[in-house]
Symmetry: C2
Subunit: 250 residues, 2 copies
């Protein structure tokens, strides 16, 4: 059994905690967080601490703190065991402390309140020492995920693509949900369209799914939409995305 100390109790740390506690292959021996309060609900189930100096001896220190805190937290870990951070956009070299360094990045958007499975989830793995790959590959597999090796450059690209998909995709939905509510149209109206949009892109590829006024050069409809958009920000986005479709889609 791999002995793991988990550091951080944000969205990802919380999901790892839940999965590790259920796993037969992983022995989660301690949970660290800057504030003990967040760990209160778990203190009867495993050791918790807010002191990095009191970390137990483990096979892996898994760091799920915010990007900015990774350097400081890692340099205070007094161990020569493997330490790994979980941040898609951070270079392996940002880790301090142990000389055995790694990244263990699950390609997903985690929210505490939502049940999320790790089943078939891609885990992007990088290690400073190739001998440490099996430990992390097995960790990913024992969570039901699929391990893949990526260097920090490719992982940064994957992380940036995730920003487009998740952050920008959600933001567009947010902007139009505001517009919709402003006109007393309940946003759940669009649920089936949202589902079909993304299921279609997954099933037949976004390159085979483009429709609408931009790609068919329907200037009349485009002009009408621009006239309807009173908000300058929405108008700019509409123009940019329309011109991007006309430049890039064939």
């Amino acid at each position: 059994m791999t002995k793991v100390v988990l550091l951080g109790a944000g969205n990802l740390g919380f999901h790892f905690y839940r999965q590790f506690m259920q796993s037969k292959d992983i022995n989660l021996i301690q949970w660290y967080n800057r504030s003990l309060k967040k760990l209160d609900f778990a203190k009867n189930k495993l050791a918790v601490t807010n002191q990095i100096s009191q970390l137990k001896t483990a096979d892996l220190y898994l760091i799920c703190v915010s990007d900015d805190a990774i350097e400081t937290v890692s340099e205070n870990i007094q161990s020569e065991a493997l330490i790994a951070h979980c941040a898609g956009g951070m270079h392996l070299n940002r880790l301090r402390g142990s000389s055995r360094r790694a990244v263990f990045y699950p390609l997903q958007s985690f929210t505490k309140e939502r049940d999320l499975s790790f089943e078939n989830l891609p885990f992007c793995i990088e290690t400073s020492d190739p001998n440490d790959q099996p430990l992390l590959k097995n960790l990913a597999k024992s969570l039901g995920g699929d391990p893949y090796l990526f260097n920090s450059e490719n992982r940064a690209l994957i992380h940036m693509i995730a920003v487009f998909i998740n952050n920008f995709g959600n933001h567009i939905l947010h902007l139009v949900s505001e517009l919709s509510k402003k006109h007393n149209i309940p946003f759940h109206f669009f649920n089936l369209l949202i589902n079909e949009t993304y299921q279609k892109a997954i099933d037949i590829g976004p390159e085979n799914s483009q429709t609408g006024p931009a790609i068919r050069q329907d200037k009349k409809t485009i002009d009408k939409h621009l006239e309807m958009l009173k908000d300058q920000n929405l108008k700019n986005l509409y123009l940019n995305l329309t011109s991007s479709i006309q430049k890039n889609e064939s």
Copy 2:
């Protein structure tokens, strides 16, 4: 049973054909299309024609041709029965021919090759004569959908929101799928992230789902991404969407 003549054999016309043929409440008596070839597969199951002058007598002429052809097709229908077009962005008044005019717009993105259910689908209905509402409401219900009354202005807004969700959402996926493939990262890697992004927005609302470098003012990551983006178009979109998040998300 409502006697229906269907006009047009594009994506939507095709889906209506399939649903109507299965329905006990709808008697699809004829299918018109400019080119007979597209109707060839159906000619043993119902009357087909490419001559508007030869349309049969029906309760409803349902027009699913392209936006630009709606006016011409409708003015050639010699009947005082109800005629309806299915275009989200077109005003009711664009119909000619019969004085009983209507719109019957299903809020979905249809593709011939994909099985799509009308179950719980919102249908935006508008009629020039309120007496014609029941016929179209019942038509929507008999397809499993939910009828709603909207005037042309609100329907145009719904259609524009659908453009943001479907056309722009798909285009962003297309742009990053190209980037992904260029770096030999298979795009199916992102399937679970795509699913979770949109399922989360549906479940807890996009206003509660925003994460990422833009909203947390993480200038370091944003600068890194902008440096990674060599394509000027992608860079512009990244900048616009990031600044829109920073302006609009709290």
